[in-house]
């Protein structure tokens, strides 16, 4: 990489930190001016105003806003996100427990959606206006327009309650709860690590349906985008030339078009991954999945600001990191951007 692109990289990193700071300020201000009062949730509905004020002072919520922000920021720089009212634990500890559940679900979903969505989109474009194309379009339209919540319930009724093919809500069969020591927090990996085949089997049974449902909505987007990227390429000279030389369909798609749309694909996959991590909220509620989506929903319900700020920051940071990484991927995968840059 040239010196210039290193400077570019530094600039991007600087922008990333600045964006995170702005996100923090905005969330903090919105959070503090919200009418929701978490203190009521702690001391209870019947407490005296004096008890309420005492708790408010203990939490530092009686200080001026700028002072509260300063304290929060200083804590943050020391890696301290404060304590969650929701659980009484340090928010960092809660996130360490909740995030792997979401990560596991979203990662499996993005893998599934990529494995299906990219080939489907390419094939649909290649065989434009045939039945394959129509099928792909219908599939992606349905995935795009039907709410995940509804899919979740229907999926549970069919595959869990009627056919017994998959496990129900939760990450594992209930009586197997707590048998595997959480090391990475990713249950599939932890159970394999512990050599507990029964827990692993149960975990796969439980993750497959929510991951498939999440993957389907992401797949709709990936298929649509891949199809239009591929269509753009089909009329290019290099494809016409490859055809004239008698290259097989497979060779044209995989050998010629795929490398050319790879950069664009990386971007949309990054966006999908970000949205999956964030958008697992509804799925997590339907499937009693103890991830950050559910954590954040509950925090919002009682106005637990430390928890809300931390989850917002994490989600914001992930989005920005993915953006940053996909920009990097551009530099690596597409020589043209490098030439322009230098």
């Amino acid at each position: 990489m040239t010196e210039f692109s290193l400077i570019e990289l530094g600039k991007r990193l600087g922008q990333l930190v600045l964006s995170l700071f702005v996100l923090l300020v905005v969330t903090f201000v919105i959070g503090r001016v919200m009418p929701t009062d978490p203190v009521g949730a702690i001391v209870g509905e019947l407490a005296d105003p004096a008890a309420l004020e005492a708790m408010r002072a203990r939490l530092g919520l009686d200080l001026p806003l700028y002072q509260q922000f300063w304290i929060y920021l200083m804590g943050l720089l020391h890696g301290d996100l404060g304590n969650a009212i929701l659980t009484g634990n340090p928010v960092m500890q809660d996130l360490r427990a909740a995030f792997p559940a979401t990560l596991e679900l979203a990662t499996l979903a993005v893998i599934l959606s990529t494995l299906i969505g990219v080939p489907l989109g390419m094939t649909a474009a290649f065989f434009r206006d045939t039945w394959i194309d129509r099928l792909a379009r219908i599939l992606s339209l349905v995935g795009h327009s039907i709410p995940v919540f509804w899919f979740g319930i229907v999926g549970l009724v069919i595959f869990y309650a009627s056919l017994s093919w998959v496990g129900g809500p939760g990450r594992v069969d209930i009586y197997l709860e707590g048998l595997v020591e959480p090391r990475t927090g990713l249950l599939l990996i932890d159970s394999l690590w512990a050599g507990d085949w029964e827990v692993f089997r149960s975990a796969v049974h439980h993750i497959i349906l929510p991951a498939a449902i999440l993957a389907y909505s992401a797949m709709a987007y990936i298929t649509r985008m891949t199809r239009s990227f591929t269509l753009e390429q089909l009329n290019q000279d290099y494809v016409v030339a490859a055809r004239a030389k008698g290259a097989s369909n497979w060779r044209i798609l995989a050998g010629h078009i795929l490398p050319n749309i790879a950069v664009q694909l990386v971007t949309i996959l990054a966006i999908s991954y970000g949205s999956l991590l964030e958008g697992a909220v509804v799925t997590e509620i339907v499937f009693s999945w103890p991830g950050i989506g559910q954590y954040m929903t509950n925090a919002l319900m009682i106005g637990d600001m430390n928890a809300i700020l931390a989850t917002t920051l994490i989600i914001g940071a992930i989005f920005m990191m993915l953006n940053f990484l996909s920009d990097l991927a551009y530099l690596v995968l597409d020589p043209r951007t490098r030439e322009v840059a230098s």
């Binding site: 129900g168 939760g170 009682i302």
Partner: protein, 532 residues
């Protein structure tokens, strides 16, 4: 490297493929009880802090109280940690049984003193029921004592009779904590609260093994329990906030008990083989609070018009189902001393006449605040529709618990739908919320008081309530209670009881001995399970 990757990937793929093969019909093990519930509001497991309904079921099983009661024996007070007690003119003396905490420490009268002092000194919502009869941070040290290791004594104040004091001591907030263990975890004068929020230190039949908020609570049998180890080796409370998902889990046998289902989901279990529905009576109400500090709700005629303007039966039939039944008197109809319901059924004609008489023939606009939760949102919509019939235009404002409760406490609403519970399963216990308002002045800022929040000034009712609370003669007390109910109706309440509140629980027939408790203090030490 490449070879390894290919092998690894195909191995992993095979493992996944094998794993998703149809599972055998998995039922919960016979020595583990699995409860599907909502753990969303469980913020603290400190018994002297956590008052939320679902918290109580955890506390009920990890701690003991001096005394207990259940619906089974007509709500009679029975022994728990106290083997026996004597009531005299000035107080109650309890004799404790030989019991040990899960830590191995013996349960002593000093632990009881410590726990009740802790409750009052921490001064949170949990302390309200003892504070409002005179057990305050200033008085508590003089009112409770431990004459010896196994004897605990509590003096009565002028505002309380023995029966109502015993019920207060049977509550989850009066759980006895292991003082030695708790003292080890005190930091910043917090009475050990930070630690006890997420740990237990009790003498109950179960010990908390793990609590992952919004996910799962694992309780393990306390083998040393004084009444013998429970039959269930583990109790698992699983967070299942989505009712339809919880229903499917119950039908499939993945959970044994569901206690957070919506009304329609509960109804699907009516007459379904293998399940029973326990409609647990809470003694509390769904209420319509009207702000009597605001025009035109300050006018009793307007309040009466609204009482005639709600389709109670329609709401009960279509929305509440097993969750409630219509009742406008703040004493459940089958409690001793209850009077008949007034004729406040849905009568739009009569309501319009009353509004005209009050000078509002053309109606007016109001807002209605409610927590965005089933069944309250649906109830609000139905009230909006039927009040529109009599010319009152209602706009609904939904919010989360903190928003709505904060508005209620600040008297910042026209109409609002809260719910109540009975602090004891008697007429006196259920009516208390509705007739207590010692000082209605804004400066009194008595935001913890249910009636004050509606700015409803009721000096006579309040005086009668105080008299009834101290009246030891049963017949005279019941007579006072009847008069209070009549007067309550005559004054056109600004806190209008609409529906008696029930908590329906659906139970698999494999489970035996599960008895829902009015305050969710359901004990699980006698629960057993069978294979089928």
């Amino acid at each position: 490297m490449k070879l390894f990757s290919t092998r690894f990937i195909s191995g992993a793929a095979l493992a996944m493929a094998l794993s998703v093969a149809p599972a055998a019909f998995a039922r919960t093990p016979v020595d583990q009880l699995v409860i599907g519930t909502s753990l969303a509001q469980v913020l603290s497991l400190d018994p002297q802090q956590g008052t939320e309904v679902k918290t109580q079921e955890i506390l009920a099983n990890t701690y003991d109280r001096l005394v207990q009661f259940s619906g089974e024996e007509g709500y009679a007070i029975r022994p728990q940690l106290a083997e026996s007690w004597e009531v005299d003119d000035t107080g109650i003396t309890f004799h404790l049984r030989d019991a040990t905490f899960a830590s191995g420490n013996p349960v002593t009268a000093a632990d009881v003193v410590f726990s009740l002092t802790r409750l009052i000194m921490m001064d949170q919502s949990a302390a309200a029921n003892l504070k409002n009869v005179g057990y305050t941070p200033e008085t508590i040290a003089d009112l409770i004592s431990a004459p010896d290791e196994k004897t605990f004594r509590i003096e009565m104040t002028d505002s309380v009779i023995p029966e109502s004091l015993l019920y207060r001591l049977a509550g989850g907030t009066a759980s006895v904590v292991d003082s030695a263990v708790v003292k080890e975890h005190v930091s910043n004068d917090d009475y050990g609260n930070a630690w006890l929020r997420t740990n237990t230190a009790g003498s109950g039949p179960f010990v908390l093994r793990r609590w992952t908020p919004n996910d799962v609570v694992l309780l393990e049998a306390n083998e040393q329990y004084w009444d013998g180890a429970p039959a269930m080796r583990r109790v698992i409370m699983r967070h299942a906030p989505e009712s339809q998902a919880a229903r499917l889990m119950l039908e499939r046998g993945d959970i044994d008990v569901a206690n957070a289902l919506t009304a329609p989901d509960v109804l699907t279990f009516t007459d379904k083989e293998g399940f029973s529905i326990d409609e647990v009576k809470t003694g509390g109400y769904y209420v319509l609070s009207m702000n009597a500090g605001r025009e035109p709700l300050s006018n009793p005629l307007v309040r009466e018009a609204i009482a005639y303007g709600i389709d109670y039966q329609g709401i009960a039939d279509t929305i509440l189902g097993p969750y409630g039944r219509p009742r406008n008197v703040p004493v459940p109809e089958d409690f001793e001393g209850a009077i008949d319901n007034p004729d406040w059924s849905f009568q739009p004609e009569r309501a319009r006449e009353l509004l005209a008489e009050a000078g509002y023939a053309d109606g007016f606009d109001l807002t209605l605040k409610t927590i965005a939760q089933t069944p309250r949102v649906d109830m609000a919509t139905a009230i909006q529709a039927s009040l529109a019939d009599i010319g009152i235009n209602v706009s609904i404002q939904q919010g989360n618990g903190s928003d709505i409760v904060a508005s209620h406490r600040a008297r910042d609403f026209d109409l609002l739908i809260p719910q109540t519970g009975a602090f004891m399963p008697t007429a006196l216990g259920s009516i208390d919320n509705f007739v207590t308002n010692p000082d209605n002045a804004l400066e009194a800022n008595n935001a913890g008081n249910f009636v004050w929040r509606s700015a409803w000034d009721i000096p006579e009712l309040n005086a009668m309530r105080n008299e009834a609370n101290g009246e030891r003669d049963d017949a005279r007390r019941l007579e006072l209670l009847r008069q209070m109910q009549e007067m309550f109706i005559a004054q056109k309440p600004a806190v209008l009881p609409m529906f008696e509140r029930f908590e329906p629980i659906v139970i698999s027939e494999r489970v035996h001995g599960y008895e829902g408790h009015p305050w969710s203090l359901t004990r699980l030490d006698d629960v057993t399970k069978t294979e089928d």
